[in-house]
């Protein structure tokens, strides 16, 4: 694969994922996109984003139970979302339905629409992947900078810490951390994933700081009066950034995999939250063969990971002069 096309494909897949994540409440929702309530036009689905109800021009639209009596009492639905089910709305009369017109990806054990849960799994994956990677990046850069520029003893001590954390297999450490905190939720999950993923970035940045500090341009900057934080942030970091961004993109894909793996084991996001791993776990608990519970979340996970990896590879090909 040539590099520009790899990069473009990766960027396309990733932005499609981000778009679905951002538009999830408009793509799958119990509430209609446009409706007429008591003669007034309003946008009930937008209320799912939160915020004051008045900006949707219709104060009561958010409180109406749109699943029952869709057209009673002077209401009229003008435009439904493509999937007119919410990710959390259960329907015990239609459990384990295979894909149909009503439920394009079938339903799970509580009659929840799999397509809706899948779509709402995008924001969860993007949030966990993005936040965990961001946190790991900050941690890694801080440790790397401190080890690389803090003198011999700081370097020795911090390197031991990095070695230490790197010794624990990712999933095992993340599971232990989540169990130890025992407060399930997105924050815990993000923290646990970030704490297991920063060591690579720290090692690389430390090496870069040590290497570049000795280069002539750093001497020149220092002679011109640049202090250490300035030198690190304005000169060394930008020079080291392309490979770090490649690592970060790979890191994001593995954070998303880790999240779904942990949710699959039941130690990730807490139950009603829609996550791809949680849908897969639902499938595994059933003796009933429900292929739609496996296939669709797998594909979502696969394309997201593939997109991140292609973006990372493309970025590497574009910025690393050593690779032809």
């Amino acid at each position: 694969m040539s590099s520009p096309s790899t990069y473009r494909q990766g960027a396309m897949v990733c932005s499609a994922g981000l778009l679905v994540a951002a538009l999830a409440p408009l793509l799958a929702n119990d509430r209609p996109l446009v409706a007429r309530v008591e003669g007034k036009l309003c946008l009930p689905a937008l209320a799912s984003y939160g915020g004051p109800a008045s900006i949707f021009r219709c104060r009561r639209a958010a409180d109406i139970d749109w699943r029952r009596g869709r057209a009673e009492g002077g209401r009229q639905i003008l435009l439904d979302p493509p999937i007119h089910h919410g990710p959390l709305s259960t329907d015990l009369e239609s459990v384990f339905r295979p894909p149909s017109r009503e439920h394009p990806m079938g339903t799970d054990s509580l009659g929840r629409d799999v397509a809706a849960r899948l779509v709402h799994g995008f924001p969860v994956a993007v949030l966990v992947g993005g936040l965990a990677t961001g946190l790991a990046l900050v941690l890694g850069l801080a440790f790397g900078a401190a080890a690389g520029s803090g003198g011999r003893w700081a370097d020795l001590g911090l390197c031991r810490v990095i070695d230490l954390v790197a010794c624990f297999p990712t999933l095992i450490l993340a599971l232990a951390l989540v169990a130890a905190v025992d407060r399930p939720g997105l924050g815990t999950l993000v923290g646990a994933i970030a704490l297991t993923r920063w060591t690579g970035i720290a090692r690389f940045f430390r090496g870069e700081v040590l290497r570049q500090r000795a280069l002539a341009y750093c001497d020149a900057a220092r002679a011109a009066g640049a202090r250490r934080p300035y030198l690190l942030a304005r000169h060394i970091l930008p020079n080291a950034l392309p490979p770090i961004l490649v690592t970060a993109a790979f890191s994001a894909s593995s954070a998303i995999l880790l999240e779904s793996g942990m949710s699959f084991l039941g130690l990730g996001v807490s139950p009603p939250t829609p996550s791809w791993g949680a849908i897969l776990a639902e499938a595994q608990k059933q003796t009933h063969p429900a292929w739609w519970l496996i296939l669709f979340p797998t594909l979502a996970l696969f394309f997201t990971v593939l997109g991140c990896n292609l973006l990372a590879e493309g970025h590497r090909d574009a910025t690393d002069p050593r690779i032809l």
Binding site: D163, L164, F168, P169, I172, L173, Q284
Partner: protein, 328 residues
């Protein structure tokens, strides 16, 4: 400095890391909530009185200061005494040893499969690229590498076990004990296929890319140009002269693969109910069987450290230039 000196220095440098590993696992255990409830046994958890909690704390020496318990635990660890499992009262070392066998079998088979397929594929792929092809292989390896293995495990289970009924769904054995040896072996092999495939295809894709990239780099070196000039055929050149050099970094990679395999088998072993270390870890974590969790976490971390150390030493033995560099 000799190679033995280098090994000794690396071993000494590993000691603080080792102590740190035990400290971290111990700290994790200290902050784990619900310890008294778990120690009271499977049923006793939900209605513990203050007196009962105090009794449990005294029985398990939890009323002693943490540093003292840590030192005692460390001393016992040195004697390979990891305490007793809360769930069934057996020694943790015995529980771990029992689970280590299935994990080892699974991982060795998976690694062998990955290796036996990826090296020929990588070599063939590297040689074909010079004829102008290479795009399709690259795409396949991307796709395989990105496919989440526990999800693949579920799909393969649905297809081969539930749908077609060709392979067993999970576990290691369906036959009653005392069956003829070959029947048992065949049964085990059938149970092994799906988990081994799931564990290996990701590293297979990675190793094939790795072999190809390194081989392409080595093939441009001067000693290969010289060999080609002497009239050595392309096949012999790639397989005998270039591959050896290209595979030296593979030693490091195999060392790094140790934690990945152990961590990766948590999911796969859980899906396939494979009675190995990964499933044991998850099961113990769920049931708050702390001595087992602690033992396993420490063990995997030590194995990771040992893997990296061993890989560096093997690299030094395999490549004299590397040895010269590190022993200088």
């Amino acid at each position: 400095m000799t190679l033995a000196g280098y090994a000794a220095r690396r071993l000494i440098a590993a000691v603080p890391t080792l102590i740190g590993i035990t400290l971290i696992t111990f700290l994790l255990l200290e902050i784990l909530p619900g310890r008294e409830a778990a120690l009271a046994g499977p049923e006793g958890g939900s209605f513990l009185t203050g007196e009962a909690v105090a009794r449990i704390r005294a029985t398990y020496h939890l009323d002693e200061p943490a540093w003292r318990r840590y030192l005692e635990w460390l001393l016992r660890l040195c004697r390979w005494d990891l305490g007793d499992s809360i769930l069934d009262g057996r020694p943790v070392s015995q529980v771990i040893q029992e689970a280590a066998v299935p994990t080892l079998v699974l991982n060795v088979v998976a690694l062998a499969m990955a290796f036996c397929v990826s090296v020929p594929v990588g070599v063939g792929w590297a040689r074909r690229r010079r004829a102008g092809r290479g795009g399709a292989g690259s795409l396949v390896s991307y796709l395989l590498y990105a496919f989440p293995n526990f999800a693949a495990a579920l799909l393969l289970q649905q297809f081969f076990s539930v749908g077609l009924g060709l392979l067993p769904l999970q576990g290691t054995n369906d036959l009653p004990p005392g069956s003829p040896f070959w029947a048992t072996a065949r049964d085990l092999a059938a149970h092994l296929i799906l988990p081994a495939v799931c564990l290996s295809y990701g590293s297979l894709a990675y190793l094939a890319r790795f072999t190809r990239t390194n081989l392409l780099e080595v093939l441009t070196r001067e000693h290969l140009l010289a060999a080609r000039g002497r009239g050595i055929g392309e096949t012999v050149l790639a397989w005998r002269h270039a591959l050896r050099n290209a595979l030296i970094p593979l030693i490091t990679l195999l060392g790094l693969l140790v934690p990945a395999l152990l961590g990766g088998s948590v999911l796969i072993e859980t899906v396939f109910s494979w009675p190995g270390l990964g499933r044991l870890y998850f099961y113990s974590l769920q049931n708050r069987d702390f001595p087992v969790v602690l033992g396993l976490t420490t063990l995997t971390a030590i194995l990771t450290l040992a893997g990296a150390l061993l890989a560096d030493l093997l690299c030094a033995i395999a490549d004299p230039r590397f040895a010269e560099e590190v022993t200088r």
